[in-house]
Symmetry: C2
Subunit: 127 residues, 2 copies
């Protein structure tokens, strides 16, 4: 998943804070700025199943970071479509603000994966 170059010495691991994820990585991504080491790859979360994401992680990590676009349910609407071929992602819990210098710079959503189609999807253990 990560393409580490020689510039990061041994012993360093990618454990970003939420502020770094939104304030640095997402910010640069949105502005099409170069991101060193290509540490967060872009995927289409709705073109793959959660078990495929896990398979793409390398053995050492227990967390993975991706960029993915939101897919709209209807071209003119704001509702997001979170269906995959085998199921769908559904928000759970409260959104959490991501702060930088006491300013909200983003929101963290937690999604749970259900197999099948709403509203009768079977909850699966991917969060």
């Amino acid at each position: 998943m990560m393409e580490l170059e020689s510039c990061v010495p041994p012993g360093f691991r990618f454990h970003p804070t939420e502020e770094e994820l939104v304030g640095y990585y997402l910010q640069r991504k949105i502005n099409s700025l170069r991101i060193d080491l290509n540490v967060i790859v872009e995927i289409d979360l709705y073109k793959m199943e959660p078990w495929d994401i896990q398979a793409r992680g390398n053995g050492e990590q227990s967390e993975w970071y991706f960029f993915s676009y939101k897919d709209r349910k209807y071209p003119t609407g704001t509702r997001t479509n979170r269906a995959t071929a085998a199921g769908f992602w559904k928000a759970t819990g409260r959104d959490k603000s991501v702060l930088s210098k006491n300013k909200i710079i983003g929101m963290r959503k937690t999604l749970v994966f259900y197999k099948g189609r709403a509203p009768n999807g079977l909850w699966d253990d991917y969060i």
Copy 2:
């Protein structure tokens, strides 16, 4: 504690494995080879008290890494002197082997700090 240069992108933290600590960092230190970022500084563990070590850590970290020489109790002996001005460090538990490719490259010792002088030192909460 760490002097991070621009080459480590945001979100990377120093979380080395024991194999990296011994097989890379200690190995280079012993051979007087350059260590990038000076990420492990040299201290004399017996010239300072544990609460001074904690004070030297920066706020973000919960673990610190140092190089320190072993101090011999007697110039000709092999027993180590682990006394500081206020107390002493004492080994606890079993030593743990550090492996690299199934070969033992080092041993990890856990030391506990006692205030006062042996054998009546008071156990203190520094490990």
